[in-house]
Symmetry: C2
Subunit: 288 residues, 2 copies
Amino acid sequence: MTRNVRLTLVQMRDAGSANSCCDAAVKWIERAAQEGANIVCLQELFTGPYPCQAEDHRMFDLAESIPGPTIDRLAEVAGRLQVVIVAPIFERRAPGVYHNTAVVIDADGSLAGIYRKMHIPDDPLFYEKFYFTPGDLGFEPIATRYAKVGVGICWDQWFPEAARLLALAGAEILLYPTAIGWIDDEKEEFGHGQHDAWMTSMRAHAISNGVFLGAPNRVGIEGRLEFWGSSFIASPRGEVMASGNHCDDGLVTADCALDELDLVRTHWPFLRDRRIDAYSGLLKRWID
Amino acid sequence: MTRNVRLTLVQMRDAGSANSCCDAAVKWIERAAQEGANIVCLQELFTGPYPCQAEDHRMFDLAESIPGPTIDRLAEVAGRLQVVIVAPIFERRAPGVYHNTAVVIDADGSLAGIYRKMHIPDDPLFYEKFYFTPGDLGFEPIATRYAKVGVGICWDQWFPEAARLLALAGAEILLYPTAIGWIDDEKEEFGHGQHDAWMTSMRAHAISNGVFLGAPNRVGIEGRLEFWGSSFIASPRGEVMASGNHCDDGLVTADCALDELDLVRTHWPFLRDRRIDAYSGLLKRWID
C-alpha cells in the first residue's frame, strides 16, 4: 500500500477580525478540499493580525480557549470535508497563561492533538516573550488519519533540535506555521538574505531528517512588517516542491509520497549513524 | 581590536602518491600564504586517492602515524609561513585501529590538536566503516593562533548535532574537509540535487549557529566517483562568500571577521532561546 498525502498550505493576509479571518480560512480550506487536499495547514496566529509588534495588554483580548469558537467551527469543517486542519491560534489557557498554539483537528472533526510553541522569540517588533508562556508539551508528533505530523511554530523553524526530535518520534511531515516578514528599514539591505536563510534552514531540516516539510507564512503589510509569504513545501531531499509568492493570498499544494521516507533515509542514512554516545553537550546552554 | 582571519581552502585532485600530494599541497599552501592566508584547510584524506571505493586491505598501507612524515613536513611549512594548517590524513593509531583524522597544526608549527571523524558513512563506493574506527575525541574545537576552529570531516557535515556541539564549545569557524562526489550512473538524475543538499545542509549549520564555515572538497575522477569540488566558505548568515568550481585544483579564500559572530548571534538569537529542558530525546536512537 502506498500512502500519498496531498498537503495544502494557506497563506493569507489579516482580514480585519477573527470572524473575517475564519471566513477566509474556511473558504480556502473548502477550495483546497475540492482540489483533493488531505491535510490543510494555516499560518501562525491565523485569526487576526500579528499581535506582537508592541507590548500591548489589549492584545490579550485576541486570545481564545481550546476548544473555543474558532476550533469548534473548524472541527465542523474538517469533519464535513474529511480533511485534517492545522489551526494555529492565540491560546488562552488560564488567567495569565497564554500560548502560541497549533491545534490539529483530525479528518473526522475530533481533536487529534495540540502543540504549544516551545521556542519563543523576542526581537524588535516580535515581542513574543511578553505574550506567550513557553510550551510545556515538548516535541511530540500528532497522529492523524493521513500522516503523523510534527508541528513547530515560526521561531521553532530555526532550531535543528526541534526538527530532529519530531522526526525521531516518527513525524512524517514537519509543519511550521509562520508569521515572518521584513522590517521596513531592513528590507533593502538584508531582505534577500533573511528570506534565503529562512528557506535554507528549513530545507536543511527536511534533508537531515528525511521528512517532508511545509511552512505556510502570512502575507500583507501590518505596521512596519511586510510578511513575506512564499510558503513552501520541501521534499525529504530538501527540494522545493511548491511555493507561493511574496504577496498574494492563496494555496500551496504538493503530493507527499510517505513511502519515500524509507527510501530517502536508506540512501542518505543519517539516522543510522548518529553518535548518541557523544551528544550530551546538546543539553547544555554553553560548553565552557 | 577586530579579529579578521583570512581562510583559504585547497581543492585538489589525487596526485598519484603521498609525496606528490604533499608536494602539491605545500605549493598551494605557499601560494595561499603569499596571498595573506592565516588558516589553510586541506581536503579529507589529502595524501592519496579516496581509498574506500572497495573493501581492500591493501589500502591500509596508505595510513601513517601522527606525528609522521606528512605532519612533520607540514609542521615545518606552518612554522615557516606562520599559517595554521588543517591536514586531514588516514591515521594509523595502533595495529588494527585506524582513523579518518584531521590534524590542526598551529602557526608556529606545533600540534594544536587533532579531530577523529565521529560519524562514519558506509554506502556503495564509500565503505568507510570497513576502514575507520569511529572517533573517540568528541566534538571539541581546537584553539589556534588565529581562531578557534571546529573540525568535522565529510559525513559529519550532515549532522546538525556536530555543528551545534562545536559552536556551543566556542568554535568560531567550522571546517569540513570533504571527499564527496557523484557516482557515474547517478549523476544525471540525482547529481544536481545531491550537490544542492550538500551546500544547503552546511549553510544551515552556519545560520543556526552563527559561525563561519568552510568546506574544501576533492576534485577529479577516481574509479566510478567524480568528486564535485565546489569548495566553499559561508558567512554566519549562511551566505556563500567564496566558492570553487567543479573540476579545477585551486584555492578558495574569504576574510572572516570574527567579531561578526556576536553581532549575528544577537540579531538572530538562536543560542539564547534553546529549550535545553526539552532536548533529552536527542540522546536516543529513536523515540518509540
